[in-house]
């Protein structure tokens, strides 16, 4: 009767969860309220009655039963909920790896001791620049930069893991290098990616904040895109994902989506149990998503940009309404990445030829 251990067993666990549809990672949106007014925010304010404290606790109980290990609380801004710490204490008591996704502005010094007791595995905080001018222009909230930096510094000082998330836009690209330097200096992981998700309200994506081709090229020349959040290193497998199989998102009114980026309602926790929605009686959309294979993505599976692609099925859905279709933003990055690599190879060949010529001359 031995207990076995190995890090490869983590991968094995994930595979089991994908195979058996166990929602090992859940993102729980506690509110759509937010104290900032970010220009690029994809969230749509929901005026329906949000889940009560008791409803949230009931859902947390169900997630324990379903096998969820990782629970990320997100918003809106989670710290706008008066009952946040009640919810966090409850979730901690049920044993989860907790992630808190926040803009950081409402984290006060008096919260720190309580947060230390709750031991979240990480905070994910959005920061849009290294100056108040840039950051506050994006959040449209004066003073937000100062508050966020204070929160980040306080959390780091207390030993919390902080991940800074920065979508690169034409509004903040000019500070991207300095962001990297300052994050490295602070010892925090910076998840910086070009591009922003379209609104979840079904509106057409307006590319007004997208990087210009020149800026995108500059960025891609010096960076690999940070795909750590996708947990999938193999591009051939990145056409599909864990959404709807081993991961899901719950909205502040109790709707279940396969992913926060894939607002396809597969159930309503005010009407059905999580087990019914996920296991016993999954709807057709969920079944379809689970049955998708790479070859079902007709256009993408034949695409010669495949190896450069960072396609996220959720973003594809937000951009085009089709989970199986091409994602215009991913196509743009892949096309540019391929062009840059080809240019690099040409440069290498040219440099090599020049060296050969020089050696011959000697």
């Amino acid at each position: 009767m031995k207990s076995e251990q190995s890090t490869s067993q983590v991968e094995q666990l994930v595979k089991t969860c994908v195979r058996d549809n166990i929602p090992y990672a859940v993102q729980f949106e506690l509110t759509t309220d937010c104290n900032l007014k970010c220009r690029h925010c994809f969230m749509v304010k929901n005026d329906d009655v949000e889940l009560s404290t008791d409803e949230i606790k009931g859902i947390i109980d169900q997630l324990v039963e379903m096998g969820t290990f990782y629970l990320a609380f997100t918003g809106g801004e989670i710290f706008t909920r008066d009952d946040l710490f009640d919810i966090l204490r409850y979730a901690k008591g049920k044993g989860f790896f907790l992630t808190l996704m926040t803009n950081g502005t409402l984290i006060l010094p008096e919260h720190i001791e309580e947060l230390k007791r709750l031991k979240p595995v990480k905070f994910e905080i959005s920061l849009y620049g290294v100056t108040p001018e840039t950051h506050d222009n994006i959040t449209r909230t004066e003073g937000s930069f100062k508050q966020i930096v204070f929160a980040i510094d306080s959390l780091i000082k207390e030993g919390f893991e902080v991940i800074i998330k920065t979508p690169l836009m034409n509004l903040n690209f000019h500070e991207s290098e300095e962001m990297e330097k300052q994050c490295a200096k602070k010892g925090v992981h910076l998840r910086m990616n070009p591009g922003i998700a379209p609104s979840r309200g079904g509106s057409t994506h307006t590319p007004q904040y997208d990087l210009s081709d020149d800026d995108l090229r500059k960025y891609l020349m010096g960076h690999e895109l940070d795909l750590s959040y996708l947990h999938e290193k193999d591009p051939a497998q990145r056409f599909n994902c864990k959404a709807g199989k081993a991961a899901c998102s719950i909205t502040s009114t109790g709707l279940v989506y396969p992913c926060v980026m894939m607002p396809i309602q597969v159930g309503n926790l005010r009407q059905q149990s999580f087990k019914d929605i996920w296991k016993l009686d999954p709807c057709n959309e969920l079944r379809r998503l689970r049955d998708l294979r790479s070859h079902d993505l007709d256009e993408c599976s034949k695409c010669d940009l495949k190896t450069f692609c960072i396609r996220c099925p959720g973003v594809a859905h937000l951009e085009t309404g089709d989970v199986t279709g091409a994602s215009p933003s991913a196509c743009r990055y892949a096309g540019m990445k391929k062009m840059l690599e080809n240019n690099q190879q040409i440069n290498l060949i040219q440099t090599g030829s020049e060296q050969v010529l020089s050696l011959t001359a000697l």
């Binding site: 009767m1 031995k2 207990s3 076995e4 983590v10 166990i22 096998g67 290990f69 044993g95 031991k119």
Partner: protein, 91 residues
């Protein structure tokens, strides 16, 4: 090695779930996984800080219909392993 009078309880900050009928424990750093078999899962669930080793042994005997000696040996050996790995604590 744990003794018969020891009360066993689960260590803090572990995350454990029942996956396909068996306990899967993940250590607080998320890097180690411990899969317990059916009997191990029962011992784990009974280790709630209120029962001593002998009481756990008796409950295992009832649940799996095994002789006291067999259950005793399993619980002591397995409980000791988990205490060594810091998954269980002596309450």
């Amino acid at each position: 090695m744990i003794s018969e009078k020891n009360h066993l309880k689960k260590s803090q900050d572990l995350v454990w779930r029942v996956i396909n009928g068996e306990i899967v424990i993940m250590t607080s750093d998320g890097r180690e996984i411990h899969n317990l078999n059916r009997v191990g899962s029962a011992i784990w669930e009974l280790s709630d800080g209120t029962k001593n080793v002998n009481e756990i042994v008796s409950l295992i005997c009832e649940r799996f219909n095994v002789p006291f000696e067999t259950a005793h040996s399993d619980v002591v050996e397995f409980g000791s392993q988990l205490v060594d790995k810091k998954l269980l604590e002596i309450a």
